[in-house]
Symmetry: C2
């Protein structure tokens, strides 16, 4: 903030906190309004002794057709706000679907083993909106504003009495149902601490919930945790551990390396740890929505990302047939599910390159048109699709170069054990979904590498010489 | 039931209860799974001394292309279930949007004057689903099954301990927020009584809530109501009045004629009664979603119907551009809103003729195709649109013949008074919406009659000679 003020109004900052400085494996990078939470990028900055990046804009962005562009964007924004989910995100935020997820089993409960969390209304977006809402928080130029600034006023949690950030769905689920905790204020405190200390809420919550599970099974006790009396619902203990993690204090040293390191330390079967490729998984249970097996297992951010392949939305009606994100019902284990997921992943790879949020989904042809008006290049849906596939293949090539092998796609048993709750005994079948995904994209199922033909077609020869 | 069993499995019944027999103005007709609640059709049957209509099917419906039809319907059902709202209706039923409506002010509170009903979670579709759900209830051949069969088990309300019908949104709002009542079990009892006695829940609830409002203002007391201690939240008193209405007992005689008769009896200003053309309005507050002013004021079922013009859905993203149901944001008072509402009303008029539920919205071209495969007639979107306009104009001609005049479209002040709650001071502007509606359809704004040109174009000459 001090840096920002000294440089004027058009300044944007990315910085790390103690978590990044101390090389916590899941340290995050904080932005002005949003956090780059997952995959430990904060630790990368920390290892380079880079505290912050400050950007000051002085030049104008030149547009091919500035007037038309401006007019058209206005129109697209109107179209966007005409979509049901946009309005729901605006009113209720990312935790709008708490009831539905609770009923379908998409909401994970008590470290992925629970089937009943009747207090989900207490931690819903609606409750946050009705009880604590102050105003919306919009990312730059977004008409939706799904972020929520809230306030608790005077409180006993040690939180500022003024404006604070409302936690998002993933954080609410991590520190809420996953820990059997129905207290939204305490979730908000955990969120506040993680943001302040610069560590990712999903991995922090996932790691601590894993410890709760171990305590619950009698595998560890408080004496294993520097005397911290951790158990499901005890959020005071959670606050203590968050602090220890960021500071790598005592047991925090091991916790700061994530669930798998913790599991190794306590001698736990890896199949009982909810991580994929070392990363705590996101909070949309794949037993309720099978496309997420592909999202977690095969997307470029292994284990970690729902946004790189939001099949939980596609299977709930957020399909986009124009780019092959076909509707497939959530419990299907079919080639169609794999193909839709591959197309969704490619579209979201394009989205990342375009700089667009997955919660904002105007028709794809309008997006192509904005590129045409902005850059002067010819763009259409076919080009969106090929660009998406190209970016996706490029990310895969990069990952391969960095040492990716297909065993990193392994999904542990804890996530594939049928539950009696909302998901009604369903599980994704990776023996169907994975091969069909590779087949559709024409990637080699042994090595994981895109085929020569694909590399040629997507003009990626320069990046594939290994 | 006895009639049905005596005639075998393929029997369908429509019948009236004591309400219809006693000519309660808002008596309903009960079907096997659904009720024809609004506009007092039960009293019409009662006045003709008609207790029930039993239909026994013996013949087959001949289809033009039976095999293709069957295949195609399967496909359409899959498409239908791929829509977000279909899935939400399936899981949570018609009261799925309780949180959102509460926040936007669409949910009416304390007889249309209240702004805060923090207990809406208690009466939501999610709560019904989680606490009392037994199974879905599907109308004939519907894949959604938005109806909910519930059970309270042993209970002190005098309800059967086995299966009972879960109340729908309109009933929940009528006997819930409109009466400041947060008790879902008591709402269910009111619903059960109304169904059992054969009276409409919306008009019954609206009339009793109006009385609560009068009590609240000190205009009447228990002594005006046969000693019944009516006030907001007192549901015991509501149960007593429901019984009196159906039996026309004591004050029930006047209540059985609806809010306007009650208002006249107690000398209340008509502008403070939430009726349009003598009918208690439906529970989507037009201050939150202005298209509903047209739905309530101008649709063929004056005052009474949300389904004849579901602009509350269209403005929430349930638009259908192919038939001119364009998305218009809920607080607009524009020609576009009036035009979208006119097209919506025409489409729903077609839907009624086609025999389709407004909650099931596969793409219009698939509907045209089912007609082609079923009847062999050529059908497309243009024909859907012209059929809709024709049915709508025909209904208007019928209403005119039965004595309709445009002063029946009047919306009382109580519904147009700005509120500080979720609707944030917005009100629909009928001085824009009404004229634009008439202009777009080319109906005469003085008489309300479709123009000669329209009548000719829609081939309705035979029905317009007056």
């Amino acid at each position: 903030e001090i840096l920002g003020e000294s440089l004027g109004k058009r300044t944007k900052i990315m910085c790390i906190g103690p978590g990044g400085e101390n090389l916590v494996k899941f340290a995050m990078i904080g932005g002005d309004t949003r956090a780059f939470g997952r995959t430990g990028m904060g630790a990368v900055m920390g290892s380079k002794k880079l505290k912050a990046i400050v950007a000051v804009g002085t030049k104008k962005v030149e547009l091919a057709k500035p007037e038309e562009f401006k007019e058209y964007v206005k129109e697209v924004n109107e179209t966007l706000m005409g979509i049901y989910t946009s309005q729901v995100f605006q009113e209720l935020g990312t935790a709008s679907n708490m009831n539905l997820y609770s009923i379908t089993g998409e909401l994970p409960i008590k470290y992925w083993r629970g089937t009943d969390f009747p207090e989900e209304d207490n931690i819903s977006g609606a409750t946050m909106r009705e009880k604590y809402f102050k105003r919306r928080r919009h990312c730059y130029s977004c008409p939706i504003g799904c972020g929520k600034v809230i306030t608790f006023g005077e409180n006993e949690l040690g939180l500022p009495k003024g404006d604070i950030s409302g936690p998002e769905y993933e954080t609410i689920a991590s520190f809420g149902s996953l820990m059997d905790n129905p207290d939204l204020q305490k979730i908000t405190k955990a969120n506040y601490m993680c943001n302040d200390l610069g560590i990712d809420t999903v991995s922090t919550g996932g790691t601590i919930a894993f410890l709760m599970d171990l305590v619950n099974q009698g595998k560890i006790t408080a004496s294993d945790l520097d005397g911290v009396d951790l158990k499901f619902r005890n959020m005071e203990a959670v606050f203590q551990l968050i602090d220890k993690i960021a500071k790598k204090e005592g047991i925090g040293e091991i916790l700061s390396k994530g669930s798998n390191a913790v599991g190794e330390h306590f001698g736990v079967d890896k199949e009982q740890i909810a991580t994929i490729n070392n990363s705590e998984v996101i909070l949309h249970d794949m037993r309720a929505t099978h496309g997420m097996a592909i999202a977690y297992g095969l997307s470029p951010h292994y284990g970690g990302s729902h946004n790189s392949c939001d099949m939980y939305m596609v299977s709930l009606g957020g399909s986009n047939e124009a780019v092959g994100m076909d509707m497939v019902l959530p419990h299907e284990n079919s080639p169609e599910m794999a193909i839709s997921a591959a197309n969704t992943m490619a579209y979201r790879a394009f989205y990342s390159a375009y700089g667009m949020c997955v919660f904002a989904n105007p028709p794809s042809e309008t997006i192509a048109r904005t590129i045409e008006l902005g850059t002067g290049l010819h763009f259409d849906i076919e080009r969106i699709k090929s660009t998406g596939k190209r970016v996706l293949a490029l990310k895969r090539l990069f990952n391969l170069k960095m040492g990716f092998t297909r065993d990193m796609e392994h999904i542990p048993k804890i996530l594939l054990t049928p539950l009696e709750g909302g998901s009604e005994g369903n599980v994704p079948d990776v023996n169907v979904l994975y091969p069909e995904f590779y087949k559709y994209l024409d990637w080699n199922p042994e090595t994981g590498k895109p085929s020569k033909e694909v590399i040629k077609e997507l003009e990626l020869e320069d990046y594939s010489n290994f």
